[in-house]
């Protein structure tokens, strides 16, 4: 049954991926574009496909998968349905890293400075969290550390905005922070995807341990799952996947929080089974929202993070109103 859920969601992601490649501002003959691309012809349509459409769709799927799977893993680790990938503080730190790269003008001279800065910010926060985890910090301690890191990164980001050399620079920063997949290239994909993939593998490895955590930390440990290792895997995996996501796409809110709730009933509430399903549903939601962004005729283009939060926040309220059995 759960594998049917994963297959079904995988199919939805595939359809939305194709739709994402097909949707764009310039009319594109997809058949010809693919033909040119595969034959190595440098036609305009091949360029649009390889430089605009494909990176955007790949990143949409990968970023969404990262947010969905890590949200599910953190909710499982904390046994708290309100956990979100943002709570470990890596998103804020990645955003700060990118803002620093922007603020000091690195991004003007070198286009990849933003994602590289984001990755460095994420790596710094991850190092702090892993050092704490290695010293035996409990789950609550790690999350509090994440909240502290998040606040510090937020304050420093605000400081950068405060001291921005010009209103245009501040505006550009704010826009970047809202999260978007526009104008990303295959280089961005190559930069982020390896980290995301490592994160997915680490998080997926914790499936049985997260199932065991249904019974609480002592019972899970007694079933043969060393909690210190489980925490390292979930926090490390989240840091890698979400840090890379924020580094290339900015902060895309609510996907990691809402998607696990949507999918949980489909997998019989099993935290381990939820991981892959939630990742796929996150990919579907992000791809779908990014299609909406391009179909809504506003200028400037709606930022993806704005759309996911606009869909996500009211929906989350609706879910909370009907949620049962989490407060007992």
């Amino acid at each position: 049954m759960p594998s049917r859920v994963v297959l079904g969601l995988g199919l939805v992601v595939l359809v939305l991926f194709c739709a994402s490649v097909a949707v764009g501002y310039a009319p594109l003959d997809l058949g010809a574009a693919f033909g040119d691309l595969l034959a190595g012809r440098q036609s305009l349509s091949a360029l649009v496909l390889s430089e605009l459409r494909l990176p955007r769709a790949i990143l949409g799927g990968a970023v969404g998968f990262s947010l969905g799977i890590t949200g599910a893993a953190l909710q499982g680790l904390m046994r708290n349905p309100l956990a979100d990938p943002g709570v470990v503080g890596v998103s804020g730190a990645a955003a700060l890293g990118a803002v620093i790269a922007f603020y000091f003008g690195f991004s003007a001279s070198f286009a990849l400075a933003l994602p590289l800065g984001g990755l460095m910010g994420a790596a710094a926060a991850t190092a702090v969290l892993l050092a704490l985890a290695a010293r035996g910090a409990g789950t609550v301690m790690l999350i509090l550390a994440g909240v502290a890191l998040s606040s510090l990164a937020g304050a420093l980001t605000a400081l950068a905005l405060n001291l921005a050399p010009s209103p245009y620079a501040a505006l550009e920063l704010v826009f970047w922070l809202m999260g978007s997949l526009a104008d990303r290239s295959l280089v961005h994909v190559a930069l982020a995807l390896p980290f995301m993939a490592v994160g997915w593998v680490l998080v997926l490895a914790t499936g049985p341990a997260l199932d065991a955590l249904t019974l609480g930390e002592d019972a899970a440990e007694s079933l043969g799952f060393p909690l210190r290792r489980v925490r390292l895997l979930v926090i490390g995996g989240t840091a890698a996947a979400v840090g890379a996501s924020v580094a290339v796409a900015g902060a895309i809110g609510f996907v990691g929080l809402v998607v696990p709730h949507l999918v949980r009933p489909l997998v019989g509430h099993r935290p381990g089974r939820l991981l892959a399903a939630s990742g796929l549903a996150g990919a579907a939601l992000t791809l779908g929202a990014d299609i909406v962004v391009r179909l809504v005729p506003t200028r400037p283009e709606l930022q993806l993070g704005v759309v996911t939060a606009l869909i996500g926040a009211p929906f989350f309220l609706f879910l909370l109103a009907r949620l049962r059995g989490v407060e007992s």
Partner: protein
């Protein structure tokens, strides 16, 4: 299986929770662990379960230390039922019980899981969602989860606390049967009569120390009950078995 604690001391910060405590248990023994709140019973159980290393002293499982066996191996060796067990997600009962099969490689609802449900009398609840259970039902489901491990050591922290009288009797009989089949069973208990009737041996703790250990008659005498709990007890005999009722504050 042989479970042995040698001079175990457990500290938390500056507090000493268990002091220089030794115990040796052979397979087939059902030990009732008694003592007032804060005596260190749960701390001792966690150390016996290998969840916490003692500040000093050692725990041996058939002569091997926890570190030698490894966390995976301990998962198959010891079934641990924590106090105040919660089920954090509304899984169906049979899947909760089958989590006890994880140390054996998979959480499928297999024969062992079904045996455990039958033993704990929760078969009828198999398809119910865990969030619809009463406190007593949940306690029995969690006991079934621990039984499903089919480990040679079963450590149960207050397994009968939430249960009605009938289910208390049934759970005590079930724990005794588990020991009869060869397991080492240790249960933290508060009902002195049930402990005396069903356990092979009792251990009485107070302030982290082992105050008394032995048969019910040896452990549940007036002096021990007064020292451990500060109570005077009424002692009756019914069909040849001892009934112990805490009656009044001492003095």
């Amino acid at each position: 299986m042989n479970l042995a604690a040698r001079s175990v001391t457990v500290t938390r910060g500056t507090a000493t929770l268990v002091r220089d405590l030794s115990l040796a248990l052979e397979g087939g023994t059902f030990l009732g662990l008694l003592g007032p709140n804060g005596a260190g019973k749960t701390s001792l159980m966690r150390v016996l379960a290998g969840l916490e290393a003692p500040a000093s002293g050692h725990v041996f499982y058939d002569g091997r230390a926890a570190a030698e066996i490894g966390r995976r191996g301990l998962g198959r060796t010891i079934a641990y039922l924590p106090q105040d067990g919660r089920i954090h997600w509304p899984l169906p009962v049979e899947e909760v019980v089958a989590l006890g099969r994880l140390p054996h490689g998979s959480a499928a609802v297999d024969e062992a899981a079904r045996r455990a449900m039958a033993a704990a009398g929760v078969e009828a609840l198999a398809r119910r969602s865990a969030d619809t259970l009463s406190g007593g039902e949940r306690a029995r489901v969690l006991l079934a989860r621990a039984l499903a491990v089919e480990a040679p050591i079963l450590l149960a922290d207050e397994p009968s606390a939430a249960l009605d009288p009938l289910h208390q009797l049934e759970v005590m009989a079930l724990l005794r049967d588990t020991a009869r089949r060869g397991a080492v069973v240790v249960a933290v208990l508060h009902d002195l009569t049930l402990a005396g009737r069903f356990c092979d041996r009792l251990a009485l703790m107070k302030d982290g120390r082992l105050l008394a250990e032995g048969t019910a008659a040896q452990v549940l005498d007036d002096a021990h009950l007064a020292e451990a709990f500060g109570v005077d007890a009424v002692r009756l005999t019914h069909v040849g078995e001892m009934v112990v009722l805490p009656w009044s504050r001492r003095g």
